[in-house]
């Protein structure tokens, strides 16, 4: 296979972009373009004649996942972080989990209401004993033993 520096660079930038998918789009584009310029400056300074040299150069630039992680760390430290609700809604999986939880809670409330309305016998033991009967029995037993 022939060595194509452009395809190596393109592949690297694509993996950086996908690793940085959490960032707002403008920040992500800016990051990718800065890294691309950095790579081009490094290449201008020391051209890579073969794939091995190119891989070494990109290794110096760093692991795309590490760079993307640094970018989201710095984004959190920034002055204008995303509002919590917006940050939350940016993650579809969390939204689905929250909706599922909401459905479960709603079903539980509906079931409890239905049982209370149509199945009063379900609570029969609680209504069955006269109020204060437990105390009364206890007191009289106790009184008999002591007396």
């Amino acid at each position: 296979m022939s060595y194509d520096p452009e395809s190596e660079i393109k592949q690297y930038l694509e993996s950086l972009s996908s690793a940085a998918h959490d960032l707002p789009r403008t920040r992500r584009r800016e990051l990718v373009s800065e890294i691309e310029q950095h790579i081009r400056q490094a290449l201008a300074e020391s051209p890579c004649d073969d794939q091995g040299e190119m891989i070494a150069l990109l290794a110096h630039v760093g692991d795309p996942v590490e760079i993307a992680a640094a970018a989201s760390d710095q984004a959190e430290d920034g002055r204008t972080p995303l509002p919590a609700t917006v940050a939350f809604l940016r993650r579809p999986r969390r939204v689905i989990i929250a909706l599922a939880a909401l459905v479960v809670v709603a079903l539980a409330i509906a079931t409890a209401g239905w049982v209370q309305t149509y199945q009063p016998l379900a609570f029969a033991p609680a209504y069955g004993l006269p109020a204060g009967s437990v105390n009364t029995i206890g007191d009289s037993d106790h009184g008999a033993l002591v007396g």
């Binding site: 920040r27 990051l31 950095h38 201008a44 110096h60 760079i67 640094a70 970018a71 710095q74 984004a75």
Partner: protein, 112 residues
């Protein structure tokens, strides 16, 4: 033990790197690639991570940027210190000289 020392160094580096960047920019304005070379491999292990840091310093108003033509290749984004950046650097220099002296006191005290 080696792993612990490695993660300690990377934490220390992460803490001081922003101020080393500010200190370099206090001397003269620089573009990203130039800054990475000046910081050297002891301070920057993964060159690309300097850009998110520069981006935050800019958002925090400690540095400002300007695009300038380059003698070769595309225009470069130069970074320079703002007044807020200078006072942040001065505050760190103050803290660091006290903290560094305290650490040296124990390390050197043990050696003698």
């Amino acid at each position: 033990m080696v792993a612990v020392a490695g993660s300690l160094i990377s934490q220390l580096r992460r803490g001081v790197l922003p101020y080393c960047v500010l200190a370099l920019l206090a001397e003269e304005e620089r573009y990203g690639f130039d800054l990475v070379k000046a910081l050297g491999e002891e301070m920057v292990t993964s060159e690309g991570t300097i850009y998110p840091l520069l981006s935050r310093l800019r958002r925090d108003g400690l540095v400002e940027t300007s695009w300038q033509e380059s003698p070769s290749g595309p225009p470069r984004r130069y970074y320079s210190l703002t007044a807020a950046g200078r006072s942040s650097l001065a505050a760190f220099e103050d803290e660091w000289s006290r903290f560094g002296a305290a650490v040296d006191h124990f390390i050197q005290g043990r050696r003698t």
